[in-house]
């Protein structure tokens, strides 16, 4: 079912440069930190240096006397008016969750937790005074290791009596969607193949470019919060729900936001504290985190142990897959919380026709930074697990990893297909994407080179990694979310407004933070209404302008929000039709709308949509009973998730002497349905690939034995730059989605979801002949080298940072006059 739909018009499918880039790239725009209000005060947070400790005293007296300090507050100063940070997705009715105060008064549960806030006339003075706040702590034992925490060896929250938050389970036999997985495994143990592995999904840090920032203005009838957030609407709801301010008195604005990757899909203690301080003082306040604070206290992602059992017949036909996860929640159950691994629950069976499947996830509280969504959220973890396992099955059988996938995948004739996890995949063509990827990659030639190098015993070996993925995105059908106990729906809203001069304002409920919505939505509206691209203005991120919406995450903005835009635009046309008929003195049945004009069939008479907007504005000559407005709203609730897929092929060179890895080639062919803007899609794919590759090779949040984040700066948390990546070869096949008018599928997370296993499979493939069948992520040179030499997976990361910026470092000739105190530390 490739490319059957005709491209409707000029703008859709066009490589438009992004209209928002000039202001975003130069920074001359309304970032939250750029907002300056009269009389605005600045906040600095005092954070716990300990992972787990009782607070015995907080002395704020010295800080209060510091220059230009207006106030110093602790949680005790606010009490219940501070509100709480909520979990919107209790994944089981009996989920154990600690109360999450934004500023606890008695006990801190992770290093970086806020215990006091300093308010001063400048940010520098607030920071200086924060060092003067004297906090006495009694250190408590900390639950740090995920497996040990799951065994309740040390309690992250002693009052709860356990670290085990929730056990979430899906069983295909119980659900009636498939067979009994334990029976399948037992049978395979006697006459088939059983592959058993345990994989680590290391903890990652979203590392968005713009640090989080919040401004609160309590003057005026509505209290206004600007925040560098992905979710202004959800934020407004949560403020109203927990701080006692009526929702109608709250305006939340996400102005331009510089990246999120899920890291700004959160309601944060810092937002709640700023809200409370501004209300208390009656003055505008601003808080912008430092990069160190961002890495330390913004939520982290991934962090799972995955115990996996795959059963198959001797010919490679998979008969069952059993998944047992431990997922680290960190110290609190965050906004989505345990819902992140649950989003993966339906994806471990991926593109395959497994007859039996079981998923178990135990979420666990620890004394580390809380975790939540990070690009892909649950689906990269699932894809990694199954794509590593399918490769292991192929290795066990001695067949090509693509062959084993083809034997098990859903063929294109079988769509729509209901999977063993109960989802109905609407469209796809795995054969076509794989064939195109193999051709572009030069699969057979690279396999031949790999053989030559192996036979010659080259120092540098070549490995080829495969990842065929699908994902569920476009979150989401509200009913399904309800069945999963998620606290909100998954619809999306748009308003299309015709101005008096014929321009078009489109207010959308999705909230971009770098995706290019303004450009893509303008292209859609330009085609739909037949107006110039430049005449369309996309408004977003302000709850008074875009009053309804559920914001941006889960690759939903185009497939859900875009459909709302289409439907609102179509309503504009329908509202204009009787007015056009009236002005043209024709019957509505004789009118055609094309290219922005209504014409009377068979004549040269016509009127443009812009002229109709002006006619409506004057309202001098409208038909009887017709309201003088073309403006239209639409709210769209999808009937299904959205299932992009693709085949990713990666070639890695491994230096067997050092363990150094180098990417040789990366090719991906993604099927994301119809494409609105190929340039934006390329950007999403390239950026997504790099983030997924970075999980495979570079990124890891590491804590030491005391629960201190060791990878607390970009010296030790390794982000790649353009110098570390290669030119990717990307292409697309097209199986339009059947569940939205435009036939689009989400692309925001695809690259990240698919690339991680492709890279690890390639690294392992390069050295499998040396006795290696796994390398722990990130595949550092040391781990690769150790795997080659000891035939293990490379061990854990040593918990020590490079010392370049330690106290006393930097420039030889002096002592360290005033290294920061531990108590006010961690800036």
């Amino acid at each position: 079912m490739t490319a059957t739909q005709e491209r409707p018009a000029a703008e859709i499918g066009r490589d438009r440069r992004r209209k928002e880039d000039q202001r975003l790239i130069t920074g001359r725009t309304r970032w939250t930190d750029n907002i300056v209000l009269p009389g605005m005060l600045h906040l600095a947070m005092v954070r716990s240096p300990f992972a787990h400790a009782r607070i015995t005293a907080i002395d704020t007296s010295a800080a209060k006397q510091a220059t230009n300090v207006v106030g110093v507050f602790t949680g005790a100063d606010f009490g219940e008016s501070l509100g709480v940070n909520i979990n919107a997705w209790p994944i089981t009715p009996d989920q154990v969750a600690p109360v999450h105060s934004p500023m606890p008064t008695d006990r801190v549960a992770f290093a970086g937790e806020v215990v006091a806030v300093v308010v001063a006339r400048s940010a520098a003075e607030a920071r200086d005074a924060a060092e003067l706040v004297d906090v006495d702590y009694d250190e408590l034992p900390a639950a740090l290791d995920l497996k040990a925490a799951a065994a309740d060896e040390v309690l992250a929250h002693p009052d709860l009596g356990t670290n085990k938050s929730a056990l979430w389970r899906f069983d295909s036999a119980e659900a009636g969607t498939g067979g009994n997985v334990d029976e399948a495994i037992a049978k395979a143990r006697t006459d088939g193949i059983v592959i058993e592995r345990e994989y680590r999904q290391q903890r990652l840090i979203p590392a968005f470019m713009e640090p989080r920032s919040v401004v609160v203005d309590p003057t005026g009838e509505q209290l206004t919060m600007w925040s560098a957030t992905q979710i202004p609407h959800i934020l407004r709801f949560a403020l109203a729900a927990t701080t006692g301010v009526p929702e109608s008195k709250i305006r939340v604005i996400a102005p331009d936001v510089g990246g999120g990757f899920g890291g700004k899909l959160q309601t944060t203690p810092e937002e709640w504290i700023a809200w409370a301080v501004a209300r208390r003082l009656g003055k505008p306040v601003k808080y912008t985190e430092t990069r160190s604070e961002s890495l330390l206290s913004g939520h982290h992602g991934r962090d799972q142990w995955q115990k996996l059992t795959l059963s198959a017949e001797k010919d490679g036909t998979v008969t069952g897959f059993k998944v047992e996860l431990l997922a680290d929640l960190g110290a609190y159950v965050s906004l989505v919380g345990g819902g992140v691994p649950v989003l993966g629950a339906f994806m471990f069976n991926a593109i395959y026709k497994f007859p039996a499947y079981q998923f178990n996830c135990q979420t666990v509280l620890t004394n580390k930074t809380w975790t939540d969504a990070y690009r892909g959220a649950g689906r990269p973890e699932a894809t990694f697990a199954i794509e590593r396992m399918m490769t292991e099955l192929a290795a066990e059988l001695g067949v090509d990893p693509l062959e084993i996938r083809e034997k098990n995948w859903i063929t294109h004739e079988e769509f729509p297909f209901t999977t063993v996890a109960g989802l109905e995949y609407d469209s796809g063509n795995y054969e076509a994407a794989t064939a195109r990827a193999k051709e572009l990659f030069g699969y057979d030639e690279l396999r031949a080179e790999q053989r030559r190098r192996r036979e010659a015993g080259d120092t540098v070996q070549l490995g080829i990694g495969v990842s065929t993925f699908t994902e569920m995105c476009g979150l989401a059908p509200s009913r399904v979310l309800g069945q999963l106990d998620y606290g909100a729906g998954g619809w999306e809203h748009a308003s299309v407004r015709m101005t008096a001069t014929g321009k078009v304002e489109v207010a959308v409920g999705v909230s971009p933070h770098g995706q290019g919505h303004e450009t893509a939505f303008s292209q859609i509206v330009a085609d739909r209404l037949g107006v110039p691209f430049e005449d369309v203005e996309i408004l977003h991120g302000d709850t008074q302008i875009s009053h309804k919406g559920l914001d941006t995450y889960g690759s939903r903005s185009l497939v859900v929000g875009g459909e709302a835009v289409v439907r609102a635009a179509d309503k504009v046309i329908e509202k204009a039709r009787p007015i056009a008929a009236h002005l043209l003195e024709a019957s509505v049945d004789d009118l055609e709308f094309a290219g922005g004009r209504f014409t009377v069939r068979g004549t040269d008479q016509g009127v443009g949509i812009g002229e109709l907007a002006t006619a409506v504005f004057t309202a001098h000559n409208l038909p009887d009973g017709v309201e003088p407005s073309l403006d239209s709203d639409a709210t769209f609730d999808p009937v299904n998730f959205n299932y992009p897929h693709g085949t990713h092929l990666c070639a890695m060179e491994v230096d067997t002497e050092t363990g150094q890895v180098r990417m040789r080639k990366y090719t991906c062919v993604d099927d994301i349905g119809n494409i609105i803007n190929p340039l934006i899609v390329s950007g999403q794919v390239h950026g997504g690939l790099v983030q997924g590759i970075a999980q495979a090779l570079w990124e890891e949040a590491v804590y030491d034995d005391a629960g201190t984040l060791v990878s607390g700066s970009f010296v030790d948390y390794l982000l790649p730059t353009a110098a570390d990546t290669i030119s990717f070869e990307i292409d697309h096949t097209t199986s339009p989605a059947t569940t939205n008018t435009l036939g689009t599928k989400g692309v925001g997370e695809a690259g990240t979801i698919a690339s991680t296993p492709a890279v690890v499979n390639a690294v392992v493939d390069a050295v499998r002949h040396l006795g290696v069948d796994d390398i722990t992520m990130p595949c550092t040179p040391e781990r690769v080298w150790r795997a080659i030499n000891a035939a293990g997976s490379g061990g854990t990361t040593e918990g020590a940072a490079m010392p370049h910026f330690e106290a006393g470092g930097a420039a030889g000739n002096q002592e360290t006059p005033g290294a920061s105190s531990t108590q006010g530390g961690l800036q």
Binding site: A123, A124, R127, D128, E131, T290, R291, S292, E657, T658, Q660, L697, W698, E700, V702, V710, S711, S713, V715, D716, L718, L719, P720, T721, A723, D724, T780, P781, E782, W785, R786, T797, E798, G799, A800, A801, M802, P803, H804, F805, E806, A807, G808, G809, A810, A811, G812, N813, Q814, E815, T816, P817, G818, A819, S820, G825, Q827
Partner: protein, 284 residues
């Protein structure tokens, strides 16, 4: 990322800078290019009352020929060192090490002397300076003194520069006609080296006549791999001979363990990276 308040002084002569240093003592901090000091201040790991910026002292900039040595002013930016023709001819190891130092922005702001005075054992300049037997010219109120590279690096972030002194220039003895290579082992391009090796060799008729090998990040200071140097002399510039000599690269070292690798792994890396550096320097 806001430093504590400090006073700022930008003298135009070394004498003024020394006078300020004498007056403020421990409360003052010298700033060269600021590429290490500013992050330290911004993270509040140090809080001097006075920062003395050497950036306006023109006399500390530039590269000149001085007979048997090439002299590099302490405040010469890395980028200028990297493209200097005198160095390329007479001390090619230095520009080769600078080529991959940090990133382009840092190479334009950071300075040759500042990086050496910072004495980060993972810094890229210590090993080549040590290997080539650099002389460090240090000014104090009583005049200048010269310290040999072997005595300059004292410990982690510690050099022979006294509290009231300033590094003014570095004299690199000419190694005209020597082959040189700096081999750096990193996970991402902008990273400090996990291990790096600076190698300079003089090859006569296919035989290694002289060899100098410096190690980066294999101990608290840059180190000379003297065992390797001795083993190389008189050997053919061949893969096997160099491999045998390089096997001694980690002798006597005590490398760190951190997120990028433990000490054992670094010892192993040192042997491989040394072999590759020497072979590349010898053009083999």
């Amino acid at each position: 990322m806001i430093p504590t308040q400090f006073d700022y002084l930008a003298p135009t002569t070394v004498e003024e800078a020394l006078a300020a240093l004498a007056e403020h003592g421990d409360d003052a901090k010298i700033m060269a290019g600021g590429q290490s000091l500013l992050p330290v201040l911004r993270m509040r790991l140090n809080a001097p009352e006075l920062v003395i910026d050497l950036g306006r002292i023109e006399a500390l900039r530039g590269v000149r020929d001085d007979g048997d040595a090439v002299v590099i002013g302490a405040m010469t930016p890395h980028a200028a060192v990297g493209k200097d023709p005198l160095l390329a001819e007479h001390a090619a190891l230095i520009p080769k090490a600078v080529e991959h130092l940090a990133d382009a922005q840092i190479r334009h702001r950071g300075t040759f002397g500042g990086a050496l005075a910072h004495a980060d054992p993972a810094g890229d300049l210590g090993a080549p300076a040590l290997a080539l037997g650099a002389q460090f010219v240090i000014a104090g109120r009583g005049g200048t003194r010269t310290v040999a590279a072997d005595d300059f690096f004292v410990d982690l972030f510690e050099t022979a520069i006294g509290e009231d002194e300033i590094l003014t220039e570095v004299r690199i003895p000419k190694h005209t006609g020597w082959g040189a290579h700096y081999e750096k082992f990193v996970r991402v391009a902008h990273q400090w080296p996990i291990v790096a090796v600076a190698a300079a060799v003089r090859v006569e008729g296919g035989t290694i006549a002289e060899a100098r090998v410096g190690l980066t990040n294999m101990g608290n200071t840059p180190l000379r791999a003297r065992a390797v140097e001795e083993a190389l002399v008189g050997q053919p510039a061949s893969e096997d001979a160099v491999r045998a000599a390089a096997a001694r690269a980690a002798d006597g070292t005590s490398p760190p363990s951190d997120l990028n690798g433990d000490a054992d792994y670094r010892r192993h890396l040192a042997t491989v990276v040394t072999r590759r550096a020497v072979l590349a320097a010898a053009g083999a």
